[in-house]
């Protein structure tokens, strides 16, 4: 039914083809999983194989176009209808995240036939905007802006302004969560959006070499804000929504965290310093009745920024990328487990309700 569809996070898994070396040396025996259907996957674990079910599983043959259609089309559409949307890419380094999201790394991705989800989303978004404009005539106008930030070690960097450092998250009662001081660039076409994205991507790589930031340890969030203004006689109707495209840190960096959901902190389950005692205590309090308590430790920057996408008023999907090689078994298992958990994240409407004394 419609209501169920709206809230839960959708989880897609994509299996990349094994690299040529793996294919040649290991043959079919070298694979740790098989795709059973368009939503189930079998992991050849021992002693029993394990079956995982997701909203959609793309096998090695699935085209970029079909990944885009199943994953992103719907989200871009609801963005046009005023709802926020988020697409996460998750997976171990080398599992095909960049290929899925951006496309082949060597060429001009924006026109390449193998271009990924992001360029296709841009195209589709601006296609829809143009169509709306034609339909509504002069009565309706659009304004698109984008920002591109990186979260590394709980610090926020602006990828569109390499001179800036250490931005802060703030909230506005009408606009929600935003990065204070982040550069916002106005966009007029899909090509322009792609240009800004690639420029930011380049900055990210520069930062990772010059400032010792490892991009596999950082999250990158590209956000497009779509504002539409419609004039009907004297009434002006303004709608605004956001499309977040998130490249999460490589999942191999999280192998030690026993976190649930998307708490991606760089901490082992046992740390050598005492500094994570707070986390332990926080975990103890979580077990309690959960209502009347205050935890001094804020969510991570990423979950705070995307709180709305993680169980809020938004359409969200996660693309979990896996490598089928048997050498990646451990990583693949943890990615699939993570993806399975992500399905449980839902809009938790905790309504303070007092049941006593009202019935009589």
């Amino acid at each position: 039914s419609l209501s169920v569809e709206g809230d839960a996070i959708k989880v897609y898994v994509r299996v990349r083809p094994p690299s040529e070396v793996t294919a040649l040396t290991d043959g079919d025996q070298g694979l740790c999983l098989s795709v059973l259907s368009s939503n189930t996957i079998r992991l050849h674990s021992k002693p029993e194989p394990k079956i995982f079910t997701f909203d959609y599983v793309a096998n090695m043959e699935t085209t970029q176009e079909s990944v885009f259609s199943s994953v992103a089309r719907n989200i871009v559409e609801s963005c046009m209808n005023g709802y926020n949307g988020t697409i996460f890419a998750y997976g171990q380094t080398g599992s095909g995240k960049t290929f899925t999201m951006m496309g082949p790394s060597d060429s001009d991705n924006f026109t390449h036939s193998l271009r990924g989800v992001i360029p296709r989303s841009f195209e589709y978004l601006f296609f829809l905007i143009e169509r709306e404009k034609e339909k509504a005539g002069s009565g309706k106008s659009f304004l698109c802006k984008c920002s591109f930030i990186e979260i590394y070690n709980e610090q926020i960097f602006d990828l569109l302004d390499s001179a800036s450092a250490g931005l802060f998250l703030r909230e506005h009662i009408k606009k929600g969560v935003f990065v204070d001081g982040a550069v916002e660039q106005v966009l007029s076409s899909a090509a322009e959006a792609y240009q800004v994205l690639t420029m930011g991507w380049r900055n990210r790589r520069v930062a990772s070499t010059s400032m010792n930031r490892e991009s596999s340890r950082s999250h990158a969030v590209f956000t497009i804000t779509v504002e539409s203004m419609e004039k009907n006689n004297d009434i002006v109707n303004i709608r605004s929504s956001m499309l977040n495209l998130v490249d999460l840190a490589g999942s191999e960096r999280q192998k030690d965290t026993h976190t649930e959901g998307l708490r991606l902190k760089e901490a082992g389950n046992i740390n050598r310093s005492l500094s994570c005692l707070g986390q332990v205590i926080t975990a103890l309090v979580d077990v309690g009745n959960g209502k009347q308590r205050h935890i001094c430790y804020r969510d991570s920057k990423l979950t705070f920024l995307l709180r709305d996408s993680l169980g809020g008023n938004a359409k969200t999907c996660i693309i979990a990328n896996v490598h089928p090689g048997s050498r990646c078994f451990g990583e693949t298992l943890s990615t699939l487990n993570f993806a399975q958990r992500a399905k449980l994240i839902k809009n938790k409407a905790v309504v303070n309700e007092d049941t006593q004394g009202n019935v009589s």
Binding site: N84, L284, V287, G290, V351, N352
Partner: protein, 536 residues
């Protein structure tokens, strides 16, 4: 003799190699070296030159096994380190050699004071790791106890950053709250406040205290204030639970009984206090105790006692709001306002005078309504729903109070009737807004409700049904209409539960009453209709 010295030195080397390997994620090699280290030390592990090294080797084996996800194995190493420390302290207790000293020249060797400091630190780490191990094994109580002890030792051996320590203690207080251990909770909070105030006094090492640091400090202070708010709130709410009768009113018999019981228990409490783990040595301890005296840790049993706790809570609300302003911290700010509202709500329970009680609820409305009006539900759907529901409930409660006040009068005057009706209408308005928030983008109400909104949605429907039944009108036609609407809402509940029997569990009482009303209302309406048109 010579052989023993060599064996111990080899053990130090094995230890260093082991740590080096585990640091570089070579777990198997690391394990081998660490094992060899403990084997070499085994016969001498209780002697002053080996005990510290042995404990540290076991700490590292604990870490190593936890990295392999074998928490149980990690536990055995850490618990044996803990036991060894205790045995050594009992049998010897002199400051033992630090592992780094085995290759030091005589003149470089550490002082007893330094030795003791390092040894205690290694043991503190053992306890800290055990806290994590117990947490992973879901031995929550034990984990909390080890966290508490770790904090205590950090304080004793001066191994702490005041802000961090204070936050940890404040967080621990919230654990105790969830266990209804108010004395322990207050102790943690008082210690947090005392230690935090040290942070403000000590000028930071460099003079370049940035504005960001100041900002952080102010936020941490506000965070601790929020923990205090929760403390006051929980204490009041728990007391209310103890004192209320089956319709949610203060039960005077119960009140008397509890007051008598408290008198008896006061001495026992004093004994219990000595058993609890107290923070700090004399100076700090005195400050902590002074801080504790500002608010009670026993259940308030009457309005006066409740009010004192309420006022403390309200002061912390002001303090927390100074930092968490709505511009910039929407979610936090609203949470604090919600707590403030909850403080008023629970205080109202202790208030006997209905008019004054009503005014307290009006205060809640005044703080919640403007925030709700500004809030954009596209980004704050959850909070928006919470506010809708709370506003609805508050109006509902006020209406009930006005009805009760009205019932004492000889006859309902028009002013009271107006008031009752307008409160009921406002309650309906907010319940409907809440129900509307559940609709999908095409404005359709969901066929089947999600589990997390099932109960609130059903309660909203049920309350709306009741509210229509309470609206007062002299116009019989209007009355009939209201009854009809009421019936529709009751019917929704009954039908829904028939279709989705799983829902019954969530709203048993409401369903029972709804069924009753569904069978009663049509007869009543029939009677009313007959009165309206007696000749048909």
């Amino acid at each position: 003799g010579e052989a023993r010295v060599l064996a111990v030195r080899r053990a130090v080397l094995e230890y260093e190699l082991g740590v080096n390997h585990t640091d570089t994620e070579e777990l198997s090699a690391g394990e081998e070296h660490l094992q060899r280290c403990t084997q070499l030390l085994e016969p001498h592990r209780l002697s002053p030159d080996c005990v510290s090294l042995y404990i540290q080797a076991q700490n590292n084996l604990g870490i190593l096994w936890s990295e392999r996800d074998e928490i149980k194995t990690a536990q055995t190493y850490l618990e044996s380190a803990e036991a060894l420390y205790n045995q050594y302290m009992k049998e010897d207790g002199n400051p033992p050699l630090d592992p780094s000293e085995h290759f030091m020249a005589e003149e470089e060797k550490l002082t007893d004071q330094e030795r003791s400091k390092r040894f205690e630190k290694a043991y503190t780490h053992t306890l800290y790791y055990l806290a994590q191990v117990y947490q992973h094994l879901e031995m929550i109580e034990k984990a909390a106890q080890y966290c508490h002890t770790t904090l205590k030792r950090q304080l004793e051996y001066c191994g702490y950053y005041p802000v961090e320590w204070a936050l940890n203690a404040a967080t621990l207080s919230q654990y105790y709250l969830s266990k209804q251990c108010f004395m322990e909770s207050r102790h943690c909070l008082a210690a947090a406040s005392v230690i935090f105030s040290q942070a403000g006094q000590v000028p930071s090492a460099e003079d370049s205290e940035t504005e960001q640091d100041q900002q952080d400090l102010r936020q941490r202070k506000a965070d601790i204030a929020r923990c205090w708010i929760k403390y006051c709130l929980n204490l009041l709410q728990s007391a209310r639970k103890l004192l209320e009768d089956n319709i949610g009113e203060l039960d005077p018999d119960r009140q008397m009984e509890l007051k008598a019981q408290r008198k008896k228990e006061e001495d026992e409490k004093e004994k219990g206090r000595k058993k609890a783990v107290l923070f700090g040595t004399s100076d700090i301890c005195d400050s902590v105790l002074a801080m504790e005296e500002k608010v009670s840790s026993v259940y308030p049993l009457d309005f006066q006692e409740a009010r004192e706790i309420f006022l403390v809570g309200q002061n912390y609300v002001q303090e927390a709001k100074e930092f968490f302003q709505v511009d910039g911290y929407v979610t936090d700010h609203i949470e604090i306002v919600q707590d403030h509202s909850a403080l008023f709500k629970v205080l109202a329970f202790f208030e006997e005078d209905y008019e004054r009680r009503c005014k307290m609820h009006k205060r809640r409305i005044d703080m919640l309504e403007p925030i709700y009006a500004d809030l954009n539900p596209q980004y704050y759907l959850l909070i928006s729903r919470q506010l809708q529901f709370e506003l609805a409930d508050t109006y509902y409660e006020m209406m009930d109070l006005k009805v009760a006040i009205g019932n004492r009068l000889e006859e309902l005057d028009s002013h009271t009737i107006k008031k009752i009706n307008s409160l009921a209408q406002l309650a309906i308005k907010y319940y409907e807004l809440f129900l509307d928030s559940l609709r999908n983008p095409d404005k359709v109400f969901p066929e089947e409700l999600e589990e997390d909104v099932l109960r609130p949605a059903m309660v909203a429907k049920f309350h709306i049904a009741r509210l229509y039944g309470k609206l007062i009108t002299s116009d019989s036609k209007k009355q009939l209409e209201n009854m009809q609407t009421s019936l529709e809402y009751y019917t929704f509940l009954v039908d829904y539960c028939e279709k989705y029997p799983d829902a019954v569990r969530a709203i048993e009482t409401e369903l029972e009453l709804s069924k009753e009303m569904v069978s009663l209302l049509p007869t009543r309406m029939e009677r009313l209709r007959a009165k309206l048109c007696p000749f048909i």
